[in-house]
């Protein structure tokens, strides 16, 4: 038992306790604030679901749109990213290396710059600009490298090369090899990448705030809007909606991903 032979560390313990309070107290505070009648009077004013109801009326639509957008983003990054990851894993040419570097740039460059670039280039196409597709495109550009990197490193496994070679010598064509052998073999990595993409897309604000229009609002955009213009109780209740809707979805997906990892993992 190596853990129990560790000497006591009072200093580290103190920091851990303080940091934990700093991290957890605001979450509890905002949950509480969303459920009381009057925030400045505190718990004495009684509990209510009134603010939650008001939020649902004003902003309920953003929840569905955010989840749909994240799901679409996952589909998009899988369709674009998985073949791309395969090609990058099998090609060690200089061009492939440069392309991989370029693809990762949107992660390093602040979202605000990417959003400005998209607006400057496509802002004039009104139908596109005013649809959710505009936000979706931004999200895919930003999340694609996460999918490609995750899946590409899975494609590089040595046993996979041998498997593919064996299938080829038995006469399987590329489509059969790709869908029958390669994709099932890297499936856990695709799931892990999808989870990452979903999480990033659901919480994305830096790009989305610039790209959204009054008719295309996502949950984080609605949050910012309610914080700026509504009572503190509404803002808190909306934050509570985020916790209540998004976190269970993320936990569910995490659980599913672990399950798949266990079943398909080698």
């Amino acid at each position: 038992m190596r853990k129990n032979t560790q000497p006591k560390a009072p200093f580290l313990l103190a920091i851990t306790v303080l940091v934990s309070i700093f991290m957890i107290a605001p979450m509890l505070l905002s949950v509480m604030a969303g459920l009381v009648n009057n925030y400045s009077a505190g718990l004495k004013s009684g509990l209510t679901l009134r603010w939650l109801g008001e939020v649902w009326e004003n902003y309920g639509g953003t929840v569905g749109w955010s989840l749909a957008l994240a799901a679409a983003c996952v589909v998009g990054t899988v369709l674009l990213g998985v073949p791309c990851a395969y090609a990058l894993a099998r090609s060690r040419s200089r061009a492939a290396h440069i392309f991989e570097e370029l693809l990762t740039l949107p992660v390093a460059v602040p979202g605000l710059a990417t959003a400005l670039a998209l607006i400057l280039a496509y802002g004039q196409l009104t139908a596109f600009r005013q649809s959710f597709a505009f936000i979706l495109v931004g999200h895919i550009v930003f999340t694609l490298p996460f999918m490609v990197r995750t899946v590409s490193s899975a494609f590089q496994r040595d046993d996979l090369l041998a498997l593919e070679e064996a299938a080829r010598s038995l006469g399987a064509n590329f489509r059969q090899r790709f869908m029958g052998i390669l994709v099932p073999a890297v499936f856990p990595a695709i799931v892990a990448g999808s989870l990452m993409v979903f999480t990033l897309s659901v919480g994305e604000f830096n790009l989305t705030w610039m790209l959204h229009t009054p008719l295309t609002r996502t949950l984080p955009v609605g949050l910012a809007d309610s914080y700026a213009s509504m009572r503190i109780e509404i803002g808190s209740a909306y934050t509570l909606v985020f916790f209540a809707v998004i976190l269970p979805v993320l936990w569910g997906l995490q659980y599913l991903a672990n399950l798949i990892q266990k079943r398909h993992g080698t």
Binding site: P26, L112, P220
Partner: protein
């Protein structure tokens, strides 16, 4: 052997990359090239606005200083918590760790709102100050508020990274040092620091980059302390000064990218979370 299979492997790989490449070129590369050339239309001097105009320079200096301070504070606190959690077993540890890393999925605006709840006009600190000294203390919209907000979104990443790294640390080395009479501080400096150096470099670079570009948090706190993402946003939406917004975005992009690039030269990967 069949004469040169119609699908030469080289072409096949190209076909696999093509969809992603077309998408990336159309929706990132070309727009960004456009962004890069835009300031030129207002004269070459526009590119250097961040250096020549004292207001923008101040905003950039603010942002870099704040990001450096937050990164350093986060590394110290994150390392302490990560090492403690990795070394000590207690009930509810997994729960605590998952609560501490939960904010990784929060949008920045929520964290800004947390700081308003703590230090805003109706915040907890204002209430406490009111009942103790008869004065409502508010710090949410100034430098302290921004610092705490940035710290809040940086800590979960650092804690998760250090907890994982500390699990993998060599305990024997430390026991040897201690049995030879090294003090706690000495162990931290001579054993922990070299072992955690690669983690620190990688994590620090990502924390810095994230802080530089953090827009949502600063936006919610609509701060008196101006940071560059807010300056860009104001130039773009309030003054419709596109060329200048582009120029400032380029400056911000260069600083962030450069830090990540240098860190990667020393072996850190920005996309690995």
């Amino acid at each position: 052997m069949k004469p040169a299979n119609a699908w030469n492997p080289r072409w096949r790989l190209l076909a696999c990359v093509a969809p992603a490449a077309v998408f990336f070129v159309a929706f990132w590369l070309l727009p960004v090239v456009r962004l890069l050339t835009l300031p030129a239309t207002k004269g070459w001097a526009t590119y250097f606005a961040v250096l020549t105009d004292s207001r923008y320079l101040q905003s950039m200096v603010n942002t870099v200083a704040l990001s450096v301070a937050v990164t350093l504070a986060t590394l110290v606190l994150g390392a302490a918590v990560g090492i403690y959690l990795a070394r000590h077993a207690f009930t509810g540890k997994r729960m605590l760790l998952s609560l501490l890393t939960l904010p990784l999925s929060f949008p920045g605006v929520i964290i800004g709102f947390f700081v308003i709840l703590l230090g805003g006009r109706q915040g907890v600190v204002a209430d406490i100050g009111d009942s103790l000294f008869g004065e409502r203390i508010t710090f949410a919209y100034g430098l302290l508020g921004l610092f705490l907000a940035y710290l809040y979104f940086s800590l979960p990443r650092a804690i998760a990274t250090y907890a994982a790294a500390a699990e993998a640390m060599n305990v024997q080395l430390e026991e040897a040092a201690r049995s030879l009479g090294a003090s706690r501080l000495r162990v931290a400096h001579d054993v922990w620091m070299p072992e955690l150096a690669p983690t620190t470099l990688a994590c620090g670079a990502i924390l810095f980059a994230t802080s530089m570009g953090a827009f949502g948090t600063a936006f919610t706190l609509a701060s008196k302390f101006e940071v560059i993402p807010i300056t860009i946003y104001n130039e773009f939406t309030n003054y419709a000064n596109f060329a200048l917004a582009a120029s400032l975005s380029i400056a911000l992009g260069i600083v962030t990218w450069l830090v990540l690039f240098v860190a990667r030269r020393f072996g850190a990967n920005p996309v690995a979370r």
